[in-house]
Amino acid sequence: MEHVTKRFGDVFAMKDISLKVENGELRAIIGPTGCGKTTLLRTIAGLETPTEGRVYFDDEDVTDYSPKERNIAFVFQNYALYPHLTVFDNMAQPLISEKRPKDEIKKKVEEIAAFLNISHLLNRKPAQLSGGQQQRVAIGRAMVRSPRVLLLDEPLSNLDAQLRLVLRAEMKRLIKEIGITSIYVTHDQVEAMSMADKITVMNNGVILQTDNPISLYSDPINTFVARFVGTPEMNIIPVKISRKGGKTEASIDGRSVLFNSDFGYEGEGYLGIRPHKVSFGNGGIIGKVITIEPLGNVYIYHVLLENGTEVVVSSNDIIELNSNVQLSIDTNNAVLFDSSGMNIKKRQQIRAP
């Protein structure tokens, strides 16, 4: 889609969004509540009309097409199963609307039901199904017609945490087996990380970054993305950044951390570092342990630095509460941001060409 803007009255839900999803790709769109991600999905589906901009499927302009004409499938957050129909009839509706012959419908629905392991549920009504089963029926209904795009709006958010983990893996397998182009909206970044080929991060109606999960995690474009992706979230520590003959120095509380390349930026900024890349040792950054969260496999320590910044450290070391510690930072896994929160390495790359 190109340059799509959607306004509700004076409120912009999306501002000049351009997004390209490849054939067969599983794309996740993440962002906080109200960032425009659901509006984006609904615009692709044809349930919303963009105020400006065009939507294309391959090279075909579908902006003025109804959802029906777009041949898409949509899995709703509440599944939106037809409560008065059986599972079989629910799944058959997309085929019935195309007036396909009865025996073909029966064959297709049974085939998809078998694939989804819900053959034994075909005569039940939605109210008699568990959340996970309802979700599978919703996916089944989406699949029977071999749509061009599968759109999923927070399909797991109504389920309990345990089931969510199971279905996450199952859905990824299903979608990949079918090989359908899919766009998946969620506010749960872990879900997006575990499922998607590529992730698009949105906030306030604009796209911040699109990247594969690993790059997004290790090299976020700004402090917002850095904080949004990964749990526990990335530490963002205020630093002074200066260039030192081909290298870059970041200083925290007067202690300097050296980066091996020159990013062409000097001044106030931030250093971003994942909690498991900070270690206790002789790094010279002094702080005091103020909270300990024992998670079983690892301890999460909250360390208060002299400048008042709280740094989260995930470590297997056993440290006592209130003890003074020194932290060292692995610069190979740290990111520097300028005073506006922009990744200075990415900033340099954008400027270079």
């Binding site: 939106a80 409560p83 008065h84 209904r141």
Partner: protein
């Protein structure tokens, strides 16, 4: 020990309060039924426990009978059929028109706040307040004393009631249901009839029953707009015991019992259906 005594006391108090309420609400019903079963000799005695019971009052209203040589009680059947025709017609028309109007108002904001406000205001109009102009119009139109006029003027009050409740019914149905249908390839009309109406069915039933009872019990409109047995309804029939026949209490009570039967049955239905979730099976919302 004290705790036990307290518990007993609370049960006793609850019992007394409940009994008082029951007496308060059921006493008139009991009195009506008992009056309808009293023989003529005991009509005016006011006793609540008559020594002899009879069904002859029911015979009188069902077949018609002359009392005291001059007072003729006409048979109830014609009135009952009039009432049934009017109430059923209002019920069906209210559901058909109301369900479409409410859908437009709830889903597409048709008419904005003006239309919905106007609809509520219609429900608050006292029938007596508009009955004289209606009488003038309908007489000019040659509709005076017909069932048609009763149905039309009844709808002035029952249709807004139906629309108002159905707006609430539609509010309970998530819009994602329609969107799912659009995505599945159905147009707007097919979506409404295939997916929305079946889901709203229980709501429609409840509305229909309310409209039926409302129309069945309406009195002012038929009293003023009809004058003969060809269009008079049950409520007018019963009122004439007081105005024309005078002190024929047994048959009057019997007519009252007969008129109450459909409403009692319908209230049973309402309790059953209104309690039912409209859209079970939607996961958590």
């Amino acid at each position: 020990m004290r705790g036990r005594r307290k518990k007993i006391m609370s049960v006793v108090i609850k019992g007394i309060v409940l009994a008082a309420f029951l007496v308060f609400f059921l006493a008139p019903v009991y009195t009506l039924v008992i009056e309808s079963l009293k023989p003529e000799s005991q009509w005016l005695t006011g006793t609540l426990f008559p020594t002899r019971l009879t069904l002859s009052n029911y015979g009188a209203v069902l077949h018609g009978r002359i009392y005291r040589q001059v007072t003729y009680i006409p048979p109830i059947m014609g009135y009952m059929i009039n009432s049934l025709i009017v109430s059923l017609a209002e019920m069906v028309i209210s559901i058909l028109l109301g369900s479409l109007a409410a859908y437009a108002i709830q889903r597409y904001r048709t008419g904005g706040s003006f239309l919905s406000g106007w609809i509520i205001s219609m429900m608050f109009i006292p029938p007596v307040g508009v009955i004289i102009p209606l009488l003038i119009y309908y007489t000019r139109l040659g509709l005076y004393d017909t069932l048609t006029v009763l149905i039309i003027s009844g709808l002035i009050f029952t249709l807004p009631l139906a629309v108002w409740i159905m707006i609430a019914v539609y509010q309970g149905i998530p819009t994602s249901l329609e969107e799912a249908a659009y995505v599945d390839g159905f147009g707007r009309l097919r979506t409404i009839f295939r997916f929305i109406y079946p889901v709203a069915l229980y709501g429609f039933l409840a509305v229909g029953i309310l409209v039926f009872v409302f129309s069945w019990n309406s009195f002012t409109i038929p009293l003023v707009l009809t004058s003969s047995t060809s269009a008079q309804t049950l409520s007018v029939y019963i009122s004439e015991f007081q105005t024309l026949y005078g002190s024929v209490y047994g048959p009057e009570a019997a007519a009252g019992v007969l008129m109450s039967i459909p409403t009692v049955i319908f209230v049973g239905f309402i309790v059953k259906y209104l309690g039912k979730g409209l859209v079970s099976g939607f996961g958590k919302r």
